[in-house]
Amino acid sequence: MSALSAAMSALLGLSLVTTPAAAQGSTVCERGGRSGPRLPLGVTLGEADLGMTPSPCGGRVLSLEGRGTALLELDDFYGAIDAGAVISGSYPLSDRWWLSGAIAPLQFRFVQNASIAATTLGLGATTLGLHAWLVDGARWRVSAYGRLRFPTETGRQYAATVGVEPGVAALWSPSPRVTVAFGASLQGLFTVLGSHTVSRMTAQVTADVGVLLRWFEPVLGAELRVGTDDDGAFEYIAPKLGLRFHPGRRWVIALDAMMPLGGIDRTLARAALGVTRACGAAPPPPPPPPRPRQPDPIPPRRLPAPPSAGTSPPPRGTLGHRRRGGPSAVNPPARSGST
């Protein structure tokens, strides 16, 4: 893990040295000037988007993603592949509240126990989440959320699994091109079979760092999960890597992967390839290219303070961005005009 920490520190340090501290007149959700959520990384061990640290920015976003998880334990004569497609999105309810949802319309599973193997192909789980931002500022955005997991999956004999996940997500943008995402959540999974319920409780924290380099954004991250499993509390710690491509102002193509290490979870790796589109009007152009030798146009000490308790909420649909004068990357003006 020291290597991972060092890599993340190096990436963060490099970005701080080579980029301005902040863009003029923008919030953390607008930085980068690209559509869709740049962070956090869209990969974790869970179904639909359970366990996935959400973007605290919300907005009207739609994603289609292909995922694959591999577990290979040759010494134990065991292997499993879990792959499928997930459609997810978010939809604003007000300037503070938004909904998110994910459904796996296609889920393929292959499990080999020694030479006994079987596959399933069907519908996966569905999740629905309710989010609200708590802190919104030029450099910070913090939201809280709650998710429910619904047992829409097929390929089961009798059991149904429901789940609940409260959590918080945060974005910090130390410079226009650098974003750091944090997340923490609790998950409760309850597999119900008649009067027989098996529960699984876990808690996880995530941290991701991304640097936007024009249309390309590499991201490094880590995820730590602990739980109440009888086999041990330490589930895994996983380095994550994401490669984000921004082919246009509305689109993000993301290739994310994680590799759980240590702990009781034996998953070898999980990877996801997704495309995300922000809905509504086109977002603003990206900030000017970094000019490392120039002084910061807005020194950090002069940044506006984040909204404090009691501050009047921004108009619905702007998520607070427009009060600083710029259109939101995720909530375009056309959307706000309808309010």
């Binding site: 577990l71 040759l74 010494d75 004569f77 065991y78 499993a80 879990d82 599973r109 292959f110 499990v111 080999q112 126990n113 020694a114 030479s115 006994i116 193997a117 079987a118 596959t119 399933t120 429910l148 619904f150 047992p151 829409t152 390929g155 089961r156 004999q157 009798y158 059991a159 149904a160 699994t161 429901v162 309850f190 597999t191 119900v192 079979l193 008649g194 009067s195 027989h196 319920t197 098996v198 529960s199 699984r200 109440t228 499993d229 009888d230 086999d231 009781i264 034996r266």
Partner: protein, 971 residues
């Protein structure tokens, strides 16, 4: 994982409105650990006047079912009604492949005989995937009785399994429901099924379906997809000849079963299914048993149950088999077995495309009745002497009963054989071997519906059942009479290595009877006072054979051995009843023992990821006690040899013998039969001399603790086992290597005979040297001589070898070093019955052939079927010439030259083990064994008696301390 209270679940359900899972009945939906699964197969009910069904715990061994496979002991559980009786091993009484009790162990109609080894629950192919039951519950309710077993999967203690075996008053079979809940955290694939452990050489599984029946794809546990099939029901039957039993299984709640079939094991269950954590699965089926030869009885029950549950009408085909005179033909599966099948798609009788539905054996009155689905076209084909006989008969099954016209076939031919002593003219207990006239064997070869095809020509009966079997028959008192296919034969009669080999020619016409008389004579091959012993012999109590005790005991006599160690797999056997019945108690001594046989892979040696079993071990003497588990052979799985020795030494006593069997035998169905090969011993490397971290170094471990036995602390090891030359060369090489490194063990030569056909009893055997009185057998003295290596191992020749000791007395072979006298000679005399080929005598010194005496110096009998020419070679060799005056081990061998052999790259690659020989003498090392030689070859007569054998004898070592300073190993 934490089981949440129901309140939480209800809250979740009501809040989330998402409980869309299916509510299963039974214990899957209950968190009560004492939940009782519901009555299985509710859709099917039988009526009768009886209301009695009983679940109880077995209290006395007399309650055990008849039959050699019956093994339940007091403490086990039983279900019975007016039709069937079933026994289940208690959880603490595991047997065979299962890791706990809870198996269906014995099962038969009330007046029937048990032929079942075991039925147990699995979810995969590894031991971890099997059920491990820990609790039982007996249920007696009006009209039904049940036994419930609860536990977990063996390797997944979070996955709970519960099985209910139920018997209602009118049921002809058991209702079974197994529920399994996945409490683990990862996805898994389960194949929830019953594993039917047939054990080889016994039961023949049958599955209806096109291209199926008795035809099954070869079982490959690694590439199991290629072995998989789907079937409406399955059945199996035994082939002993008398008291046969059939079994069948049919799913409830679904129309088909899935799985694999093989003479070793069948598995029939649910489709392979991905199971998510927290989910569960349930499997209901009925298991039937029927009486008589063939599968028809049990198959009819399964077919009826399948039709009741899934719809479809049945019809009964009735007929009679007679000869042209109207005399009935039947009562024997060998004489008449009728396969019933739908015509094939390519040709009406093409086995690859026909759809078999049943198989029936006409009764002694020639009548038969077989149940099949109605409204279809069938063909009935008679099998006689293991082959299809005559044209198939076409029939359209209409109505409830279809009565067929008589099937007329020629009466079977018969042969009477009399074997007498040429001097006393008294009848001699002998084994007969029939060899067809040249060029006729292919047309006379038969099998048990495709099973057990081992070159039985002529086919006289199931090769692993009673006499006659394969092409052999036992002549009690020198006389026997049996049916056989018409043809010309040479009939050979043998009665031991101390007798001549007799023969006679006979031609038997279709439907006719013939007779042949053969005489034998004693020949003086073995020294007076010595005893011949076979220390590795199986009978019907072993899970992998069906030879009745009577035949087994008769074979003791026909082999001419004096002492037999009964070493059935994992069970202690006594042949007392059969010995008494045959009046042979004073002519052969049987010592009860056991071949402890690892069946549950567990040990992962260094450098491997594959769990292993650790070979086979003989222990004797043991006390046969039917009140104990395995009649006195304790549970032995998942133990290293040292742990076994710790447990067994107290049972066999200090004078008892622990024998390492076939030490480098190969793996079979994932079970290692040779200990050293299981450990990864490489014959190209030196034998490890310490626990050096290698697999083979594990022989030095003391698994039971620092003061307990080492894994290498066995007394004797097999240097010869059966007729297989390839493996025997491996055993010999290992023994030589151990001797050279100073690891001294006595070597034995045993038949490992499982039936009349699989390894001939007494070939090879041990000649235990000494002065043992025929009466008042001294078991301890005999065992002491065995442990001391005072033996010659042989399948024919006898070597009398001595070296004069320092005290002036002749010393025979043994594992005790001694100082030879000044100018001592190795004195050798080789004798053999005339029919045993001896063309070479070899003296091995420290693993190297130091002297070879070839056939020019060896006397050959004029007539191998005569009685003269027993002495083959006599000579003396100065010991100093052989050893160069240094300490050495010396072994004398006699017989025929060892064929050229090599380790050829095969599926094991170059692993250092000999795997091919020049078995046909053509100069190419491309055979996996010795092929049948020409009649003029000196090996031919022995090959008739013990197919595949190479005449071979060896002495145990002479450990000569040439300098008198204590014997030192050569390296």
């Amino acid at each position: 994982m934490v089981a949440r209270p129901r309140l939480l679940q209800l809250a979740l359900c009501s809040v989330l409105l998402t409980c869309v899972g299916v509510e299963p009945d039974g214990c899957l939906s209950s968190s009560d650990p004492r939940c009782v699964p519901p009555s299985p197969c509710a859709a099917i009910a039988y009526t009768c006047s009886s209301t009695t069904a009983l679940a109880a715990r077995m209290e006395r061994p007399e309650q055990r079912l008849p039959g050699l496979d019956a093994i339940a002991t007091p403490g086990d559980l039983m279900l019975s009604n007016g039709y069937v009786r079933a026994f289940f091993d208690a959880p603490e009484h595991p047997h065979h492949l299962a890791t706990s009790g809870g198996s269906l162990l014995d099962f038969a109609p009330v007046d029937g005989t048990d032929h079942l080894n075991q039925v147990y629950q699995i979810t995969g192919i590894l031991p971890r995937d099997g059920a491990r039951y820990t609790e039982t519950q007996l249920i007696n309710e009006p009209g039904l009785a049940a036994v419930v077993f609860r536990g977990t999967l063996d390797g997944f203690p979070r996955s709970r399994i519960v099985t209910r075996y139920e018997l209602r008053a009118c049921d002809r079979g058991l209702r079974v429901r197994t529920e399994l809940h996945h409490g683990g955290r990862e996805l898994t694939t389960w194949f929830l099924a019953d594993a039917w452990f047939w054990g080889d050489r016994s039961m023949t599984p049958f599955a209806p379906g096109r291209g199926e029946g008795f035809r099954h794809r070869a079982l490959d546990l690694v590439e199991i997809d290629g072995s998989w099939s789907t079937f409406d029901w399955m059945a199996a039957s035994s082939h002993v000849g008398a008291g046969d039993t059939s079994y069948a299984s049919v799913a409830c709640g679904r129309s088909q079963l899935e799985g694999v079939h093989d003479p070793t094991i069948s598995a029939a269950g649910l489709p392979r299914t991905v199971i998510v954590p927290g989910d569960g699965i349930a499997f209901e089926r009925m298991i039937f048993t029927g009486s008589g030869n063939g599968i028809a009885d049990a198959a009819a029950l399964a077919l009826d149950a399948h039709a009741r549950m899934n719809g479809g009408a049945l019809t009964e085909l009735r007929g009679r088999l007679v000869d042209p005179s109207g005399n009935p033909i039947g009562g024997s599966e060998t004489l008449a077995s009728i396969e019933v099948y739908e015509p094939g798609s390519t040709a009406p009788d093409d086995p690859a495309t026909v759809a078999p539905w049943s198989q029936v054996v006409p009764g002694p009155d020639g009548t038969f009745s077989v149940r099949v689905p109605a409204g279809r076209s069938y063909r009935l084909r008679l099998h006689r002497f293991g082959r299809a006989h005559g044209e198939a008969i076409a029939v359209q099954a209409v109505g409830a009963v279809t009565v067929l016209p008589d099937i007329v076939r020629p009466a079977p031919s018969r042969l009477t054989v009399r074997v007498t002593d040429a001097v006393s003219m008294q009848g001699v207990d002998a084994e007969l071997v029939l060899i067809p006239a040249e060029g006729t064997a292919d047309a006379l070869e038969g099998t048990v519906h495709g099973f057990f095809g081992q070159g039985c020509a002529p086919y006289l009966g199931p090769p692993h059942g009673a006499s006659p079997g394969c092409n052999r028959a036992l002549a009690r008192g020198g006389s026997t009479d049996f049916a056989l296919p018409p043809g010309s034969y040479t009939v050979y009669a043998h009665a031991g290595l101390h007798r001549t080999l007799g023969r006679g020619a006979v031609t038997v016409a279709e439907g006719a009877s013939a007779s042949v008389d053969i005489t034998l004579r004693d020949v003086a091959v073995f020294p007076t006072g010595s005893l011949m012993g076979d220390f590795h012999v199986h009978g019907g109590r072993s899970f992998d054979t069906a030879l009745p005790d009577r035949e087994r005991v008769l074979s003791f006599m026909t082999s001419g051995v004096d002492v037999v160690i009964a070493t059935d797999h994992d069970v202690c056997t006594s042949y007392d009843a059969a010995l008494r019945e045959l009046g042979l108690s004073d002519r052969v001594t049987v010592i009860s023992g056991s071949e402890v046989t690892g069946l549950v892979p567990f040990l992962i040696r260094p450098g491997s990821t594959v769990p292993r079993t650790l070979g086979h071990w003989n222990f004797w003497p043991l006390r046969h006690d039917p009140t104990e588990l395995n009649d006195g052979s304790p549970y032995d799985e998942r133990q290293e040899p040292g742990q076994l020795f710790d447990r067994m030494r107290s049972r066999v006593g200090e004078q008892g013998v622990i024998q390492c069997n076939h030490p480098v035998a190969e793996m079979k169905v994932g079970r290692d039969e040779g200990y050293l090969r299981a450990l990864g011993y490489d014959p190209r490397q030196a034998f490890p001399m310490s626990e050096d971290g290698s697999g083979a170094g594990m022989v030095w471990r003391r698994p039971g603790g620092p003061t307990r036995h080492r894994n290498i602390d066995w007394d004797t090891q097999e240097a010869m086992n059966g007729a297989g030359v390839v493996l025997n060369l491996g055993y010999r090489a290992l023994w030589f290597q151990m001797l050279s490194q100073g690891i001294i063990r006595a070597a034995t030569a045993n038949s490992d005979s499982h039936s009349l056909n699989t390894e001939t009893m007494g070939y090879p055997r041990n000649v235990v040297l000494g002065s043992f009185p025929r009466t008042g057998f001294d078991r301890d003295a005999f065992n002491a001589a065995v442990r001391a290596g005072q033996m010659v191992g042989t399948n024919g020749p006898f070597i009398e070898a001595t070296v004069m000791g320092m005290d002036g007395s002749p010393r025979g072979p043994g594992v005790t070093p001694f100082a030879p006298g000044p100018g001592a000679m190795l004195n050798v005399e080789v004798r053999a019955a005339p029919w045993v080929g001896v063309t070479e005598v070899r003296v091995i010194v420290n693993g190297t052939v130091a002297r070879t005496i070839t056939n020019t110096a060896i006397q050959q009998p004029i007539d191998p079927y005569g009685h003269e020419g027993v002495l083959r070679w006599r000579g003396s060799i100065p010991l100093s010439e052989l050893t160069g005056g240094r300490d050495a081990w010396v072994v004398v061998e006699a017989g025929m030259p060892i064929p050229r052999a090599a380790d050829i790259a095969d599926e094991d690659g170059y692993d250092g083990y000999i795997d091919h020989v020049d078995g046909d003498g053509d100069g190419a090392i491309d055979d996996t064994g010795m092929l049948r030689p020409a009649p003029s070859d000196p090996r031919y007569p022995l090959d008739i008696v013990a197919p595949g054998s190479l005449p071979f004898a060896f002495t145990n070592p002479f450990l000569v301390d040439m300098d008198g300073g204590g014997w030192r190993a050569p390296r």
